[in-house]
């Protein structure tokens, strides 16, 4: 089991290298660089599911390939006559069902972790606009738009998401977070980034003409830097223009 995981991991890393993407800053790749406990749990849930499910892919494709090579028609050859086998049919119903039941266990645990955040250290309101993001720090009294979200490293950040126009989706792969921002309701997500750095994402729900350019930047800084950033922000903070779209 452990060996398979290492093997899988190495393979994915190699593909990652080949894709030229992962070595570049900023960090987007959650398989190579999952950031924080939630993203790591999502990744291990994914690997576990792959270990459970992939054998069926190789089994089916392998049997198919074998049959294609082995059972090519030969002159004078006779086809087998069997066309049912109850034991076989029960087996290939029950074994996949059991496998999926096992896969479901860590899946439900991870879902619970996604839905029930630990005690929040920082609450940020995220508001989608065509085609930019607005962020509000209610407790700190800071709000701004069209700039990077800044959060302190190691802290639990909870997001309350909404939208003033169409459905958007806030997606930062490295944090294991994707959550739609709907008009008329508030949705929730959380993450805990441990390492300071620059993380990139983008809007994931088609939101109109410039959807492709609706990027997300997150700057994770040390808690001290965060305090200073808040103070600086407060000095110059202006209420953002939220009236441009209703």
């Amino acid at each position: 089991m452990k060996k398979i995981r290492v093997f899988l991991m190495t393979g994915l890393t190699l593909v990652g290298l080949a894709s030229l993407g992962w070595a570049d800053e900023p960090i987007t790749n959650w398989l190579v660089n999952p950031e924080g406990p939630l993203a790591r749990q999502v990744r291990s849930n994914f690997f576990f599911a792959m270990v459970m499910i992939m054998p069926f892919l190789f089994l089916a494709e392998g049997l198919l390939l074998y049959a294609i090579i082995r059972f090519k028609a030969k002159p004078g050859g006779r086809a087998a006559a069997f066309h049912e086998n109850l034991r076989l049919e029960v087996l290939w119903t029950v074994i996949p069902a059991l496998t999926l039941a096992i896969t479901a266990v860590p899946t439900y645990q991870t879902m619970r972790a996604m839905e029930v955040p630990p005690k929040s250290d920082l609450v940020v309101g995220v508001i989608g606009h065509q085609f930019f993001w607005e962020y509000r720090y209610p407790k700190q009294g800071v709000q701004f738009a069209e700039e990077a979200l800044v959060v302190p490293a190691g802290k639990v950040v909870t997001l309350n998401l909404s939208s003033v126009d169409v459905v958007h989706s806030w997606w930062v792969p490295a944090f294991g977070v994707k959550q739609d921002a709907n008009p008329g309701r508030i949705t929730h997500a959380w993450f805990q980034a441990e390492r300071p750095g620059h993380y990139k994402g983008q809007c994931a729900e088609l939101c109109g003409k410039l959807h492709a350019k609706m990027f997300i930047d997150v700057q994770v800084v040390t808690p001290e830097e965060f305090e200073q950033w808040i103070l600086k922000k407060k000095g110059v903070s202006l209420p953002p223009d939220t009236t441009r779209k209703s």
Partner: protein, 520 residues
Amino acid sequence: MSERAAGLKRWLTTTDHKDIGILYLVTSLFMAVFGGAFAGLLRAQLSAADLKLLNPDLYNQFLSMHGTLMIFFVIIPAMAGFGNYFVPLLIGARDMAFPKLNALSYWLVIPAAGLMFGSFFVQGGTAQTGWTGYVPLASRQFSGTPGVDMWILGLHLVGLSSILGAINFLVTIINMRAPGMGYFKMPLFVWTWFVNATLILFATPVLAGALTMALTDRAFGTGFFRPSEGGDPLLWQHLFWFYSHPAVYIMVLPGMGIVSHVLPAFSNKKIFGYKGIAVATAAIGIIGFMVWAHHMFTSGISPALRAFFAFMTMVIAVPTGVKIFSWLATIWGGQIRFSTAMKFALGFIALFVMGGISGLTLAVVPFDVQVHDSYYVVAHLHYVLFGGSVMALLAGTFFWFPKMSGRILDEKLGNVIFWLVFLGMNITFLPMHWLGIVGMARRVYTYRPEFEFWNQVASFGYILLFAGGMLLLYNMFKAVRKGERAAEDPWGVYPLQRTLDWSVSSPPPVENFAKIPEIV
């Protein structure tokens, strides 16, 4: 009617199920040329980062129409085409139960297609909302163009066409089977259409309701989907996917039926686990109604709903697995003849398994949340709809073309077409799994430079698919004009399979059977 009008009049006035089947298939092929061309434009724009080939407005229009055409005007009508032609033939009936209703079902598709094409030419162009038409993006406020209204009305018409067709199929299959043909003696293509028609009958009216709400929201400001009027955008998503998830099975079940004929025919064996496949088909049909919200795992639905729909999505994999293993057991120990139809059927298994497995990973909610609305989903859905539905349709085309036209498609050319399509499909869509995992969102007219390499690979794959498509058209054109003549049973499958399609001339006479056959 036993006399048939000649020339154009025949095609405009026909109520013969075989002629209507051919009309559906030709229409579907015609629409596939446009759907495929739009895909080509998308792949051209994505062949390099920040290319300025298409502006974002046009890109989003072609993107929306590529999906709409391929689903509602290519795959669904093509399945209806084969269904029309072969369901009555396979159950030993002379026609569908309601021939005139059948003609109406077909002719509704034409004005619907007219609305879709016409919507490009109104001010503001057609819908830019993707084929899913999510509100509020598709509301009047954010998509003022009358193109969206035309898109809605066009979908209404194809929906009506589907519903009327489904009623016809159900009545035909229930009432018009030849004496002696019990339900568990029906060929599997008939079984899949039986379940399919039921799905269409229960799912499509829900789409019609949702479309009507969207239309009145746009035209009269009713506010079904507007929070400021007490409505909810998520209501659209629920209603839309309540239809559109079963629609995936509507697009793939008859294809599974086709494959269940082709595989035993060219393995010189009987289908393995006939009852298992029939029951699995029905199970997929029922469970298929209980998985729709897996398209909405990131939308903010409640944890209980996420848990339920994740569970059901895993459950539906089980009957699907039963089918795949049964097909493998069908060819096991056989004497496989690698005709083009058989290659496409084997290719179907290879690719549909991939699509099924990637679909299963999407039931793992935490992973789904990561890759939802990314290129991973684009890869997955093309493995199911191209690797599944289209490969099965191509298998059916090479298998049944001789029956429908009396001419055999060139097999050598068929081999080239198969390899172009099979390789092109994998080169185009396999890299998209990876693009999605590393963070490329879907429905984007451009992307960050780090995604360029695999996008270029995907765009190259399209060239192979395009060549395959063109060669297929040429092959058909050539066969109709001077192809080898087909006898009753050109593949030599009747002695073992005993399906009635191979018991009559190619093409079959008007009303198929001089005397209704008895099934023993």
